[in-house]
Symmetry: C2
Subunit: 299 residues, 2 copies
């Protein structure tokens, strides 16, 4: 089982073409929905009194939601952001922490034997507390975001030293490492402890680093992008979900996992919010994986 | 034979680490030196009275320079630019056209049966005049730059309609097509006439388009970049040089050509100006090609 800890949000996303208000979002939501295509997935997070029953139903149908706490004293975490015309630059308009501000996560007894743990965009201190509930994981991966790198860099570094792998955006990797070159960034992050690092580059794909080995993987090219929200989290869910499904950490499997991550990220951005992930079948994923493989093969 | 038409320059390049003044540069120089590892290459261009004999010797030793005109009434084309600390953003400080302002290119008789023609960053009208000297090429490829897209977009489109392929930077493709999405940009460019398009993305590699087929190819990852000048032109030289060497336009050969382009671009940026290209052997290129192939293979 793969346990995902992170935000479950209501997102307001504004693109030049359309605005959607208070739709299902959050790093844990995207990552868990994405990984659920590959492996049994549980989620740990908090929702508020305004979380629509239909969203709860979506989650209940696809993932183990015993780890979701409903805090009826407050409203959901809400993130309001706008994309430019090119859909590549996001501006945060408003972030309302609401119920996540004082959330004390509870790890359901059934999650305790989870072999795989994904710590998404939470406070690194909270992530490290969660880690203590999972002493026997085969693999733990974390992400982090600009906010924590700026506000508590020491805790971010300490958290990174306690995980097996890091999945991180290029902008955040550069900020964390105070270095532009991504190969150097990855070396620095691995010097803190992790065996591997994935640097996500949005429309330019991802770079996977394992010891001295580098695997650069371009994104699946798309001519229509609707909403880039959740692409990186869907990548993480596909990457980690496939690793959990295969239950192996060979270089070959990890490379395949990066491609499944790319594939899941490419689906996520083809519709607003989580919509594209909800209409997807395992066959669609396999088809796109194989199209990708044919596309990039040569020589 | 591959004929390259474009600028031969003296570049002043300033990075936060080092400044080099009036060193050998120019789009045609980089492209021709790069392609010379794969196929016999001739160059058409103009130099001024201040072109150092040692640079002339470098060119004479590696490429056919019968097409170089020495204009003793003026100085060489000079481009002065600075890179940011991250070596990814270039600012033009000064562009002195000098002898290229009134250059009337001369096509040596020996170049007339050239089967391959590369039209680099010149005035599109001049490029089209050159095209008329080569009625029997198997393949003609052009590039273009911001200056011509802004100053004579109609001529750029007309030039594009007369070639088989276009190699262009992502920024310039977006400017030319008034479109952010690169898949749409490539479709637009192909709608003007060319069979294929390569969009160069710097540290993020390249996208190759042939009809409905897309080949995304990441850059060869490097942890030390010295001077990005000439990377795109070296890419074009490697790509086109390999196509000329193979003398085939199958999809498989074109994909391999993109990788050789990436490999040549990666070498170019490891030293100032053309220096890295001058110390390179055919074996170095083959080794890096094979390392790249192993690196990106999976599944």
């Amino acid at each position: 089982m793969l346990t995902v800890f992170g935000t479950i949000a209501l997102d307001t996303t504004r693109t030049p073409f359309r605005t959607q208000s208070h739709v299902l979002g959050g790093a844990a939501t995207f990552a868990a929905l994405s990984s659920s295509f590959f492996t049994r997935t549980g989620i740990i997070g908090v929702i508020g009194s305004d979380f629509p029953p239909r969203y709860r139903e979506i989650l209940d149908n696809r993932i183990d939601t015993k780890g979701i706490v409903k805090d009826t004293t407050g409203r959901c975490f809400h993130f309001d952001s706008s994309f430019d015309y090119d859909l590549s630059h996001r501006t945060a308009n408003r972030t309302e922490l609401n119920v996540i501000a004082d959330f004390k996560p509870i790890v359901p007894l059934e999650y305790g034997d989870s072999e795989y743990l994904y710590l998404a965009n939470n406070d690194p201190i909270q992530n490290m507390e969660i880690l203590e509930y999972f002493p026997n994981t085969k693999l733990t991966i974390c992400d982090t975001i600009e906010y924590w790198i700026l506000h508590n860099p020491n805790a971010v570094s300490k958290m990174i030293s306690q995980v097996n792998g890091v999945v991180i955006n290029q902008e955040e990797a550069r900020l964390l490492c105070r270095e532009y070159n991504l190969v150097k960034c990855a070396k620095y992050i691995m010097s803190l402890g992790p065996e591997f690092v994935v640097i996500k580059k949005g429309e330019n794909g991802a770079l996977f680093f394992l010891e001295d080995m580098i695997f650069p993987a371009p994104a699946f090219p798309l001519d229509v992008v609707v909403d880039p929200t959740g692409a990186g989290d869907s990548f993480a869910g596909g990457f980690f979900g496939y690793l959990a499904q295969q239950n192996k950490k060979t270089l070959g499997v990890m490379k395949e996992a990066v491609i499944y991550g790319n594939v899941m990220g490419s689906f996520a951005i083809q519709d607003f919010g989580v919509s594209a992930l909800l209409t997807l079948s395992r066959m669609d994923i396999q088809d796109r994986y194989e199209r990708y493989r044919d596309m990039v093969s040569f020589g």
